[in-house]
């Protein structure tokens, strides 16, 4: 998976008090932890099925809290990004 980003910090070395939390449904399984490697804290999200990691900073998270109904729909479309023909790898 060429897109996979490297973990910035092994989970075991997360700062004290920043215990990873796993959220699992029948559709997805993610691990959440606060990452403090940068100049400010951010949320580190790991897709437990693939190892894919993403980050969300406080402003991005605040924006999510204010999302209107349906705003995530285009991102939930599997063809939006993750499962597209032009992104298929051998």
């Amino acid at each position: 998976m060429s897109e996979r980003r490297e973990r910035s910090l092994p989970l075991g070395e997360a700062a004290a008090g920043d215990t990873p939390v796993e959220l699992v449904s029948e559709f997805a399984a993610v691990s959440l932890v606060v990452d403090r490697d940068g100049n400010g804290p951010r949320l580190r999200i790991e897709d437990l099925k693939t190892g894919q990691v993403g980050f969300l900073d406080p402003l991005e998270l605040e924006t999510l809290a204010w999302l209107p109904e349906g705003a995530l729909h285009r991102f939930l479309d599997p063809s939006f990004h993750r499962w597209r023909e032009e992104r298929e790898r051998g």
Binding site: S25, E26, F27, A28, E69, G70, L72, H73, R74, L76, D77, P78, S79, F80, R82, W83, R84, E85, E88
Partner: protein, 442 residues
């Protein structure tokens, strides 16, 4: 039983259903079962779930309407949807977990993704479909009408027909009584569901739920072990009544006995002093006098046709899967904010219908023996005559009989015949006639 075909006219139905006898083939004929699904289960209002099972935005639970797999979801705005749990691609079940929280559902087979309102949001590798136009027509199937009464959510596959309240008719009172027992007026159906499968036709279960003739025989062992007085409520001397509520809904009304005994919480097999918190809350909510009446009358014992049995402390949901296969889903009723009462309700439920429970196992044994017996070549009929000579009307105009009479079973079959005779037509079924004497029935 000789196989039949589905009767085409009233005269042919006469050969299968009489006012006090029914033909055994109605329990064994797959063609009859298929017609029942179309004319009863996929047309009238059928109970699906309770609003408290999806308390938060984006909660969902997996439910059923007979053999149809249903997702009951609450969207972000709070509205409840009944969707068919069937992917519009190649028919996989979209949701598998019994419950969860998700704004969208992703089919495990090829990843088609739907919002929890049923809209198709997309599928992987969409250029394979030459554009996205068709998405609009590929949302999840929906149950045509959704409505709720006192938090109980029903669905109807018919676009048109009686409203839910018209359908419930005389049975609305059972829901009103049930929620009045809750100090907040709300139930909390979150104890989880047990599932019991019976190799029997669904109608045997429906008929048994308000059969006051069998408890003294079938349940004699649990009554004696538990030193329960319930058996006496269904005796020859009992002042309890069996009632036809119209629309196939039936009741064993035990209130006359509870009022005679005059013991608050006696209906629950206990006394008020053992539930001080609940009593205090109920008195505060309803006033001491009304609270006492409520605690004496207790919870209803009502079979809401065709699939919801309100059994005092439990809810049963009947799910037919085949002519000789039925699943009974059962949960303990819990009252919002009443842990003291709820604990006892759960204990009693586990004792009667849990995996090692004594009550439901007895009934299920009867269902399965009945299903085997009804295949005998002769006699061909089941007899439902008990108490025909002493049927009478109550103050509300409902037909009633003694506690052990077969008033409910006759009422169920009368309604069944109406629904089945209406044929496959356009889906419009007249609402059940509700007596209006004294104007006391809504």
């Amino acid at each position: 039983m000789t196989p039949t075909t589905v009767p085409a006219d009233s005269a042919a139905w006469d050969a299968l259903i009489e006012p006090d006898r029914v033909h055994g083939s109605l329990y064994t004929d797959p063609a009859i079962f298929d017609a029942e699904m179309e004319r009863i289960w996929y047309r009238t209002w059928v109970y699906v779930g309770h609003e408290s099972e999806v308390p938060q935005p984006n909660d969902y639970v997996v439910k059923s309407i007979g053999p149809q797999p249903i997702i009951m979801s609450r969207d972000k705005q709070g509205e409840i949807h009944l969707l068919l749990n069937r992917c519009t691609h190649r028919a996989n079940l979209v949701c598998d977990a019994a419950k969860g929280n998700s704004s969208a559902f992703r089919c495990p087979y090829h990843g088609w993704t739907f919002s929890n309102t049923g809209k198709l949001l997309g599928y992987p590798f969409n250029s394979g479909y030459g554009g996205t136009e068709e998405k609009r027509n590929l949302g999840l199937g929906r149950v045509a009408r959704v409505a709720s009464y006192q938090g109980f959510v029903f669905g109807s596959f018919a676009e048109e027909g009686p409203t839910l309240e018209e359908h419930l008719g005389g049975a609305t009172d059972a829901f009103d009584r049930l929620v009045e027992l809750s100090p907040t007026g709300k139930l909390d159906i979150s104890a989880g569901w047990l599932q019991h499968e019976a190799k029997a036709n669904w109608k045997m279960l429906v008929e048994n739920e308000t059969d006051g003739y069998h408890p003294q025989f079938v349940h004699a062992s649990i009554f004696s072990v538990a030193k329960s007085g319930i058996g006496d409520l269904y005796g020859e001397k009992s002042t309890a009544v069996s009632r036809d509520l119209g629309g196939g809904h039936t009741e064993n009304d035990l209130r006359p006995e509870f009022r005679r005994i005059d013991e608050p919480m006696g209906w629950f097999g206990t006394t008020a002093d053992r539930l001080p918190e609940y009593v205090e809350h109920l008195q505060a909510a309803r006033g001491p006098e009304r609270a006492r009446e409520i605690m004496i009358d207790g919870a209803p014992h009502v079979m809401v046709y065709p699939n919801l049995f309100i059994a005092e402390i439990q809810l049963f949901v009947i799910q037919p899967l085949a002519v000789d296969r039925t699943v009974q889903h059962v949960t303990a009723i819990q009252y919002e904010g009443e842990p003291q009462l709820n604990r006892r309700m759960l204990q009693q439920t586990i004792g009667s219908v849990g995996p090692a429970g004594l009550l439901l196992a007895d009934d299920t044994e009867m269902y399965e023996r009945n299903q085997r017996g009804v295949h005998a070549r002769t006699p061909e009929w089941l007899v439902l005559k008990r108490g025909t000579h002493r049927e009478r009307r109550d103050g509300d105009g409902f037909t009633i009989g003694d506690a052990t009479d077969e008033v409910p079973q006759r009422a169920i079959w009368r309604h069944y015949r109406e629904l089945m005779e209406a044929g496959d037509g356009d889906g419009a079924v007249a609402p059940p006639a509700v007596p209006t004497a004294n104007g006391s029935v809504r």
